[in-house]
């Protein structure tokens, strides 16, 4: 079967690992993001690793004008259309507290930008009656914590949207996988203190691909984060508000 992937935020190491795994099995790939020089080099790399075709396109979550051309391009792609959203940004909470103007950017990168793109492309998945949307949210979206609650709130919004979109696309035979990674060893977390149980981007990418194949709805990756978050979610708010985790 011909499968095409549109990968948003493709310059992330998590996205790169995922893109390589679908390229190696011969899928078609469109890598989209802001850094065109890197994306072009990435397209070459993916083609040489086995992608049936690989192209770079511009996508800026804060500039909806970049969405349409990608959707139009996807309409020309053969076979099953799949979308994977890795876009996200996480400025330190202290920076945001000092400059609340940063909030709209965080919300655009993690929530409204990706969501508007998905809304624009959803009809295509419905028309083709198949395909999968992978949306990378975060365990940070499961509960608001003092260390990153603005980012967490945007990720929670994204996860809620994905749940609704799943409800909608299921009717057309398409599927949505919500991904909630724990700590992953990427440029986002490089040098940040207090990281533990850090997973490699390759491990996360392999988990995501498995979840796509098995049509899982919500994926915690690595899996033990499901347990950790279940416990964290159970802590009563009157206790939780005093914790600094």
């Amino acid at each position: 079967m011909t499968r095409s992937w549109i990968i948003l935020g493709a310059t992330s190491s998590m996205a790169r690992a995922f893109a390589r795994s679908v390229a190696e099995r011969g899928d078609r790939v469109i890598v989209a993001g802001r850094d065109m020089a890197d994306l072009k080099a990435m397209a070459t790399d993916l083609a040489l690793r086995g992608a049936a075709s690989a192209e770079a396109m511009r996508f800026d979550a804060r500039d909806p004008a970049t969405f349409g051309p990608i959707v139009q391009k996807a309409e020309l792609e053969p076979g099953e259309i799949n979308v994977a959203v890795f876009v996200g940004s996480m400025p330190a909470q202290a920076e945001i507290d000092a400059d609340p103007a940063l909030i709209s950017g965080v919300v655009a990168d993690n929530f409204t930008g990706p969501v508007r793109f998905l809304a624009e492309i959803a009809p295509l998945l419905e028309a083709r009656a198949g395909g999968t949307v992978v949306g990378v949210s975060s365990v940070a979206g499961d509960r608001g914590r003092i260390s990153n609650y603005t980012y967490g709130a945007a990720k929670a919004g994204f996860a809620t949207y994905l749940s609704g979109l799943r409800n909608r696309l299921t009717r057309a035979g398409a599927h949505v996988v919500t991904v909630k990674p724990g700590f992953v060893d990427t440029s986002m977390t490089w040098g940040i203190e207090g990281m533990f149980l850090v997973a490699s981007p390759e491990k996360v990418a392999a988990d995501i691909l498995k979840a796509v194949e098995k049509r899982r709805n919500v994926l915690y990756t690595p899996g033990f984060w499901w347990l950790i978050m279940t416990i964290i979610k159970l802590v009563p708010e009157r206790i939780f508000k005093k914790l600094s985790i």
Partner: protein
């Protein structure tokens, strides 16, 4: 964040460093780093010693620079970024009929590390060192200057870069000539060897491309030098692909590799191969990278870490090699991982390790007794006209190393030219005083 402040070690975990590491994910980021805050580049830190350490300083972790830039399926010429691992290159291209021409005993080594130590594989006596298959390297030198060097362009710089322990600039990418393979597998023939003399004779007589000996460093007397000879050829026979590995989750207590355990292990391993020998077909990676199945196996040696002694001696000094082995066996300190190989004269750099002869590699837990023994073995190597491997040795004095590498001064001149302010100097280069004082 750009810099991560962290503790890190070499593979042997004896030498340690604390410093700031940057890990660029894209070419532009790497270029900016070298322009603004140059430092030595490291790969997977599979070197046993302090070759990939810069204590109290900054360094660039290259492991995310892994893109393939070009490949020609007709000629087998591939251009890759320097952080790509040898094992990945093998996995990606073997199904298309091409493999790296020289591969070390671990698939986790990066292309940058393989170049900077001009690594050798089990086929060295036939196809030479890794550097002999490098068509060109692209370097970024402190200040941000980009230079391309090859056997015909910037020749001296090229010869100083291959085996050049990262001192001539950060290797960004390289063009490599891959080797044709009929399939992704190897036909392996294992034979039991009863003695040192038999080992040498069989290594000399072997007509196979991939030849290596596993040697029982604990056997003494008549059994001295007994072991298993593994000879292999590439084949188009069908095999199951290699599977993923297992982690070693914690440091093992020190008795795990104590002399009695090692003796038992070695004896059992030796008997595993029947007297009449054994044949099998294996995926290339399984045969060439046997230890990679056990991730972080260096933790088997516990917190104090371990040393690997690796020397090469010319054929005329084979007697010294036997004495070295006798000393090791008498000490009872050897670990299970001992390798004996025939080496050809193939080398591509001024500081390349290989020379025609025999190379012996043995691990020792890091203890005072072992370090005293290794010092003796090092002196014997020098006397034999041999050489120690810069990717492994952690103990030899600088003067001894310089005496073993006759082109050291020419190399130093090139390194000083490429990095006049000494911004690429690593702990090993400092320890051995290989660069000009400043």
């Amino acid at each position: 964040m750009l810099w991560k402040t962290t503790d890190y070690t070499g593979w042997g975990r004896v030498h340690r460093a604390a410093g700031d590491l940057a890990r660029p994910e894209r070419a532009a980021e790497l270029a900016r780093l070298i322009e603004d805050s140059p430092g030595p580049a490291f790969g997977m830190r599979r070197s046993y010693n302090d070759s990939a350490l810069n204590d109290t300083g900054r360094a660039i972790d290259m492991t995310r620079m892994t893109k393939i830039r070009a490949f020609d399926p007709e000629t087998g010429v591939v251009e890759v970024e320097a952080g790509l691992q040898i094992g990945d290159l093998l996995r990606l291209f073997a199904p298309r009929g091409w493999i790296p021409a020289a591969m070390p005993g671990t698939g986790f080594a990066t292309i940058g590390g393989a170049i900077a130590h001009d690594v050798h594989g089990k086929n060295h006596h036939v196809l030479g060192s890794f550097g002999q298959h490098v068509l060109s390297v692209t370097l970024l030198q402190p200040g941000g200057r980009q230079v391309v060097a090859s056997p015909s362009r910037n020749k001296a710089l090229f010869r100083a870069t291959i085996g050049g322990i990262g001192q001539t600039g950060v290797i960004v990418s390289a063009r490599l000539q891959l080797l044709r393979t009929p399939g992704p597998a190897m036909r392996v023939q294992e034979s039991r060897i009863d003695s040192f003399d038999e080992f040498i004779a069989r290594l000399d007589a072997s007509s196979q491309t991939y030849t290596v000996g596993w040697i029982d460093g604990t056997a003494r007397g008549a059994g001295l030098g007994r072991g298993i000879l593994e000879e292999a050829e590439l084949t188009d026979a069908a095999v199951q692909p290699a599977r993923g590995g297992l982690p070693v989750p914690v440091d093992l207590p020190s008795f795990a590799l104590s002399p009695p355990t090692v003796k038992l292990f070695n004896a059992a391993y030796w008997r595993k191969v029947p007297g009449r020998g054994r044949n099998s077909v294996k995926p290339i990676a399984r045969h060439l990278f046997p230890l990679d199945k056990l991730h972080n196996w260096n933790r088997l040696y516990g917190k104090r870490g371990f040393h690997q002694f690796q020397c090469v001696v010319p054929p005329a000094s084979v007697g010294v090699l036997r004495e070295i082995l006798e000393k090791i066996a008498a000490s009872g300190l050897a670990s299970p991982l001992s390798v004996l190989k025939r080496m050809g004269d193939g080398r591509a750099g001024m500081l390349s390790f290989p020379m025609a002869g025999y190379t012996l590699a043995i691990d020792f837990p890091a203890r005072q007794q072992a370090e005293t023994l290794i010092a003796e073995l090092e002196a014997m190597t020098l006397e034999a006209g041999g050489r120690l491997y810069l990717g492994k040795d952690a103990l030899a004095p600088g003067e001894m190393i310089k005496a073993m590498y006759p082109e050291w001064e020419a190399w130093r001149a090139e390194a000083d030219k490429a990095d006049p302010e000494g911004q690429l100097i690593t702990d090993m280069v400092r320890r051995l005083a290989l660069r000009s004082p400043r």
